[in-house]
Symmetry: C2
Subunit: 310 residues, 2 copies
């Protein structure tokens, strides 16, 4: 009888770990350091040792554990193989096979943005829905597509690469991916700052944003204070993201759309700007999609990784 499951979320500096019961309640969560030196050779042994120590501490035997799910900051295929993960120091690595050998437990792996989406669909903003699109607005724009309760990984691990939808030929500069005109260039924290700086340079309109440093946070704070220029910036952001989400919906037709990441801390006002353009451009039968903010924060990854196993 399986009672427990581990969820692990590997980041470039720390590994978040969680022990859950199979109903998705967190029994314990903790962090260990990510040792990326020497090709990241210690990362999986460290995770294995920490998980096994936790079982001993809690007097849990392996037979009671359904397995370990692990989220990786890079592409990983459905067989648990990563071709290369620069920020962990890894080259080709059979992640789940190695972790199974180290722990004696079944292991499943996924991309971190994808498992965060799975976490929000399981126990977060979209709990109870099996068809979910999640977009994470942070330094970049990440995403995950959940259909029938399962992640769309894609043939090259590029499923849910929402940040790299081409949205405009006329965006200055290039995206980190090498392309030009990506959603990430206008909807990430950096992207919103860029939109704001362009708007400030293009007009003489008075604005709170002219005092101090501009960021996604100061833009939405100014929107809440009814600043006209900030509202124009939010409209432009909302049009880009709302139209992109309408297009995603015409492809996979989800029940719910979850918006997370640091930018989403702006709260419900951000959803208003996005939904306005979503409703304008979505296919009519998809008008009733549920828009929601992410609720699990930095824990979405450990929840989603645990769910991978169940």
């Amino acid at each position: 009888m399986k009672k427990y499951v581990f969820g692990v979320d590997v980041g470039g500096t720390t590994v978040k770990m969680g022990l859950f019961n199979v109903d998705g309640e967190v029994l314990d969560k903790w962090e260990i350091k990510t040792h990326t030196e020497n090709g990241g050779e210690a990362i999986l042994p460290d995770i294995a040792a920490s998980a096994l120590a936790k079982l001993e501490e809690k007097n849990i035997v392996k037979d009671e554990v359904a397995g370990i799910g692990i989220g990786i900051p890079g592409p990983i295929n459905d067989e648990g193989v990563v071709p290369h993960t620069a920020n962990l120091g890894w080259g080709y690595k059979e992640v789940t096979r190695e972790l199974e050998e180290l722990t004696g437990l079944p292991c499943k792996g996924g991309n971190d943005a994808n498992v965060a989406a799975l976490g929000e669909a399981w126990k977060g903003g979209a709990a109870g829905y099996s068809n979910v699109v999640m977009v994470t607005l942070g330094t970049g724009v990440g995403g995950g597509i959940i259909i029938g309760g399962k992640i769309i990984t894609g043939s090259n691990g590029a499923g849910g690469e929402i940040g790299h939808l081409h949205v405009d030929d006329n965006i200055p500069g290039h995206c980190g991916c090498g392309n030009q005109g990506c959603l990430e260039q206008v909807a990430s924290a950096t992207g919103i700052t860029n939109l704001a700086n362009q708007a400030l340079a293009a007009s003489d309109k008075p604005s709170m944003l002219r005092e101090g440093e501009v960021s996604a946070k100061t833009v939405f704070d100014a929107v809440k204070a009814d600043d006209e220029l900030a509202k124009e910036i939010a409209e432009r952001f909302g049009k880009y993201l709302g139209t992109a989400l309408a297009n995603i919906t015409a492809i996979v037709d989800p029940q719910a759309i979850v918006i997370g990441g640091g930018v989403s801390k702006a709260g419900p006002i951000l959803l208003e700007y996005v939904e306005k353009y979503y409703q304008k451009y979505c296919f009519k039968s998809c008008r009733n999609v549920k828009f929601t903010l992410a609720t699990l924060g930095n824990d979405a990854g450990i929840f989603g990784s645990a769910k991978l196993v169940l």
Copy 2:
């Protein structure tokens, strides 16, 4: 031991039917009339009678038949229920349950554009691939998304509604769906004709297209004859469709993209214009997607419907 399967493709004027072996070889195919009068009440009984007569003709017993798959020109959910299908005269209808009762055979249903995609992924242009995007360029623009060998139906039956991606704010007029700026307005047969008429009106450039009636076919015939204005029209079409397919790829990351429908009869030259912009805007790890023309023509629906059952 199941040896046979029926594939049925219901259209507004005729129903195409096929008897296959379970390896996907066509043993027989034929058509019956679609009787849409009286709320389309005869459609399913006609299909059932025709299928049962075929079994008798071929001396096949029901135990040898895996079932009947049926494609419908409208939304149908995974439980085989259609809310309403105007062009068949149907209101709410439990299609697969009724057909099971009429035939005593298991039945599965799908939307016609989606099952055509499944057919092309099974035995057509994308045979051997389990992750496939198909776009059908006909009077409208239809599509289907196949992931892990299964159709993405969507929560409202709107999965794969590729024709209703928003691609441009400045397209004149409205799409049949009520929105403005849909891919269907520029990439269907009608859409290409519209692009051509706009180009002819906007310039004095000499062109073969100024003689006789303009259509998607005459545009691509003129492209093959090296007509400059026709090539400009094809570039615009290619940019719209290639960018849309790049965006779809960043969501579901398929192995292959199949282009079908009447417009695709233009042949490989059409793929050239589309792939050029696909390669410009796609997420880098998706560059090796296989582009291919559909090969099953009007039979894609019966193949895909049959595959639904297997």
